[in-house]
């Protein structure tokens, strides 16, 4: 059997409204009916007076007809007499037929008795008049009139008694009206309140699941999927919506879980890839550095410096020390990055060595504003550039190499330039093609043939690659034509941090 909870919303609302309307209608109909009944009863309060008055009038008509018959002896009068006598007898039969202890009933009995006497007398009068016995008519008619007079007198008394009783009843009924009215108002009010309460509870029970659904939907809309399930067991629309909502929430949760799983896996993969790439770059970086890290030379030079010092060759010793410092710097790889000041010191050592070697064939100018430059750059960045400039700047004439540094609030610009034969555009293109924008060298570039047999390309690729990897920018290095159209200028443009 279908339960009320399983009814459709429309059916439940219609049933509630219909029940409320039915109850109110029944209440109103009963109240109206009771009012009508009471009014009818009150109206009947004077019914006895009306009936008695009608009886009195019929008796009067009968007496009048008798009188007319006695006087004129007409058929109409005798017809009227019998007509009214019949009516009066019928009415009189309603009266009390036995003596009663009740005053009104006793008076009714008296009226009944006198009426019977009047009928008897009048019949005798009519009979005497028919027989034209005027002596009898005269005597009986007088008695009859006396009886009639007494009868009307008693009817009047009875009427007054009825009136008194009915007036009392009318007052009672009037108070009953007011009681009825007040009670009806109270009942109707109570019924209204009850119907309202029942409707309120009914509508609330119908709409509460909707309110719950609305609240849950709002939470879901605000991405809060940790909501309770309805687990509704009813089979109406709300139940269906609740079940659908439950399924939807479960589906969303499953979908979100899947997405989370997938995202997690992707993140893990990406992290692994990044790690691998970093490992790979680090490996490349170390491999490149290792290419310019000749340990054996450092050890040899140290030995030479000691020998020169033993022999008293101070210049040689100083030279050897400079060379040794240069290589020590090269060997020390505690950290991949050093300050610009450290790099500039290395350049000074390198230039000293080169000046010892090339003498006046090299002119080195260093335009660095005084001050400390603690900004970090990759180790062995400036030396390869200076070396490259010296190498290309002194080919056949006096080479001029200039190192300049300038800075602003955001960037530090370091240039190393020469007055050599310039940098071949094709080589420049191949060098920059050999390094990816993120700094990772292209695998083929590691092969020397890709950038040339001189090894120049490999050093620059190394510098470019390390600068890009360190600063994570692709615009940190450039190879330009030197000012004045002769020679080459290497430009390092790094953040001033």
């Amino acid at each position: 059997m279908m339960q009320i909870q399983d009814w459709s919303i429309r059916r439940r609302i219609m049933a509630s409204v219909a029940a409320a309307i039915t109850v109110m209608c029944v209440c109103l109909i009963i109240t109206i009916r009771l009012n009508q009944q009471t009014i009818e009863k009150a109206g009947e309060s004077y019914k006895t007076n009306a009936e008695l008055t009608a009886f009195s009038m019929d008796i009067a008509q009968m007496e009048k007809a008798m009188e007319t018959y006695v006087t004129y002896r007409t058929f109409e009068s005798i017809d009227a007499y019998y007509h009214f006598q019949s009516i009066s007898e019928s009415e009189c039969s309603q009266f009390q037929s036995k003596p009663s202890t009740d005053d009104i009933l006793q008076k009714e009995y008296i009226v009944n008795q006198i009426t019977s006497s009047f009928f008897s007398c009048s019949k005798k009068v009519i009979a005497a008049r028919r027989a034209n016995d005027m002596t009898d008519v005269s005597s009986i008619y007088r008695t009859c009139l006396e009886c009639y007079s007494m009868l009307q007198n008693e009817i009047s008394k009875l009427n007054i008694m009825f009136m008194q009783k009915n007036a009392a009843l009318y007052n009672t009924n009037r108070s009953s009206f007011s009681v009825l009215t007040r009670t009806s108002i109270v009942f109707i009010s109570v019924f209204f309140l009850l119907v309202f309460a029942v409707l309120y509870l009914s509508v609330t029970s119908i709409t509460k699941p909707l309110a719950d659904i609305s609240g849950i939907a709002l939470r879901v809309a605000n991405r809060d999927f940790d909501v309770p399930l309805f687990n509704s067991r009813s089979n109406n629309e709300i139940g269906n919506i609740c079940r659908a909502f439950d399924r939807m929430i479960i589906s969303i949760r499953e979908y979100i879980d899947t997405i989370w799983e997938k995202a997690k896996k992707e993140t893990e993969l990406k992290e692994k890839e990044m790690e691998m790439r970093e490992l790979y770059a680090d490996a490349q970086f170390r491999a490149l550095q290792n290419q310019i890290n000749p340990h054996f030379l450092f050890n040899t030079l140290n030995t030479g410096a000691q020998l020169a010092m033993i022999e008293g060759a101070d210049k040689t010793c100083y030279f050897m020390e400079q060379v040794s410092d240069f290589f020590r710097y090269n060997i020390q790889q505690e950290s991949q990055a050093v300050t610009i000041d450290e790099e500039l010191a290395l350049v000074d050592s390198f230039v000293y060595i080169m000046k010892v070697r090339f003498g006046s064939r090299i002119e080195f100018a260093k335009n660095v504003p005084s001050g400390k430059y603690t900004q970090m750059i990759p180790r062995m960045t400036l030396q390869p550039l200076v070396e490259n400039c010296i190498k290309h700047g002194i080919s056949g004439k006096t080479g001029k190499v200039e190192l300049a540094l300038s800075q602003d609030a955001y960037f530090i610009t370091i240039t190393v330039s020469d007055n050599g034969c310039g940098f071949p555009a094709d080589l420049r293109r191949r060098i920059f093609d050999s390094v990816q924008p993120d700094g990772v060298p292209v695998q083929q570039a590691l092969n020397a043939s890709a950038v040339g047999t001189t090894g120049t390309g490999m050093g620059l690729i190394n510098v470019i690659s390390r600068l890009r990897l360190y600063f994570h920018r692709s615009d940190v290095f450039d190879i330009l034509e030197n000012d004045g159209g002769r020679g080459t200028k290497f430009l390092i443009h790094i953040p001033n941090v």
Binding site: S45, P99, D102, I110, M150, L151, T172, L180
Partner: protein, 327 residues
């Protein structure tokens, strides 16, 4: 917890609705019909009887007949009868004895208790619907010409003796009294009464009596004057009245002269006025036949006749003595 409370409210509302509906139905269909009534509703305490008895008389005796009616009515249930008092309440409403008897005839009454002080040649006795005479019981006033079933009246000889005893008692065996007698001298009842009273008073040596009697209207006035002069002369300490009318006149005179309590009155009869003077103490003692007892006896005789065809023709009514301050 909230759901439990909500359920409780729902159940309470439902129970309240059912209770209200039940009460409304009870109110509408059981309680309310008893709140309003119609004029046609019968008196549930009313009882139908088989016989109808009339008490009739003129308005002068209305109070006395009222008490007879009361007595008759008290025993009416025993005889399955309804007693009706048909006595004009005042002289303005007064009707002839014949009219009262005709009323009895037209209502076909089963019996009549009457106080008739009219000569028989002035009225016709009532007949019932069968043409036979309606049984008649007369009280107080005996008329031997009337075809009455029974008469219930005063024993005037006994009354005279009783008044003498009461007079002696009031005067404590010594003093003067005046007897007022305005009734017709040819009325045998009052002759008997006077004879009995005077003879009885003679037995008390210390009591001196005077008689004031008159039959004419002029005479009545003279008696009143005499009463007043006797009261003021301080010679009379007791007035004895033999009728209700005389009793009232004497009481008025004593009251007017401010002699209440000093000049005592022994009255006879009954009625509202004498009762009032008795209550006020103007009348010292009041003798009367017991009307209620008379009514009861009248009913007894009437129904003995109706049921058995015979009754006692003459019955003496009991006497009643009431003293000042009582009703």
């Amino acid at each position: 917890m909230k759901d439990k409370r909500k359920k409780l409210i729902q159940y309470a509302t439902l129970v309240l609705a059912l209770f209200t509906t039940a009460f409304f139905i009870y109110y509408a269909f059981f309680l309310l019909p008893h709140l309003s009534d119609t004029g046609t509703d019968k008196n549930e305490t009313a009882e139908n009887r088989s016989y109808h008895v009339l008490v009739i008389g003129n308005s002068e005796n209305e109070s006395f007949l009222g008490q007879i009616y009361k007595g008759a009515q008290q025993v009416s249930g025993k005889y399955d009868a309804v007693v009706e008092l048909n006595v004009p309440e005042s002289q303005a409403q007064d009707v002839s004895l014949q009219a009262l008897l005709d009323y009895a005839s037209f209502t076909d009454t089963d019996g009549i208790i009457a106080f008739i002080d009219t000569p028989i040649n002035e009225f016709k006795l009532p007949l019932n619907s069968k043409g036979t005479q309606i049984p008649l019981v007369t009280v107080v006033r005996y008329n031997p010409e009337l075809p009455q079933v029974s008469f219930i009246g005063t024993n005037y000889s006994e009354l005279g003796r009783k008044i003498a005893v009461e007079s002696n008692s009031l005067l404590s065996g010594k003093g003067s009294l005046i007897i007022i007698n305005t009734s017709s001298s040819n009325n045998p009842n009052y002759s008997t009464l006077m004879n009995s009273l005077i003879n009885s008073l003679r037995e008390y040596q210390g009591i001196h009596s005077k008689i004031a009697d008159s039959v004419s209207q002029q005479g009545i006035v003279s008696v009143e004057d005499r009463i007043r002069s006797e009261i003021t002369s301080a010679g009379i300490s007791l007035i004895v009245c033999l009728t209700a009318e005389d009793t009232i006149r004497a009481a008025q005179a004593v009251s007017d002269l401010g002699k209440t309590g000093k000049t005592r009155i022994i009255g006879f009869g009954s009625g509202e006025t004498v009762d009032m003077y008795l209550e006020k103490g103007v009348i010292t003692e009041l003798l009367s036949i017991d009307p209620e007892k008379t009514g009861e006896m009248a009913m007894q005789e009437l129904f003995e006749y109706i049921q058995h065809g015979y009754a006692n023709s003459y019955i003496t009514a009991d006497m009643r003595v009431r003293r000042a301050g009582t009703r």
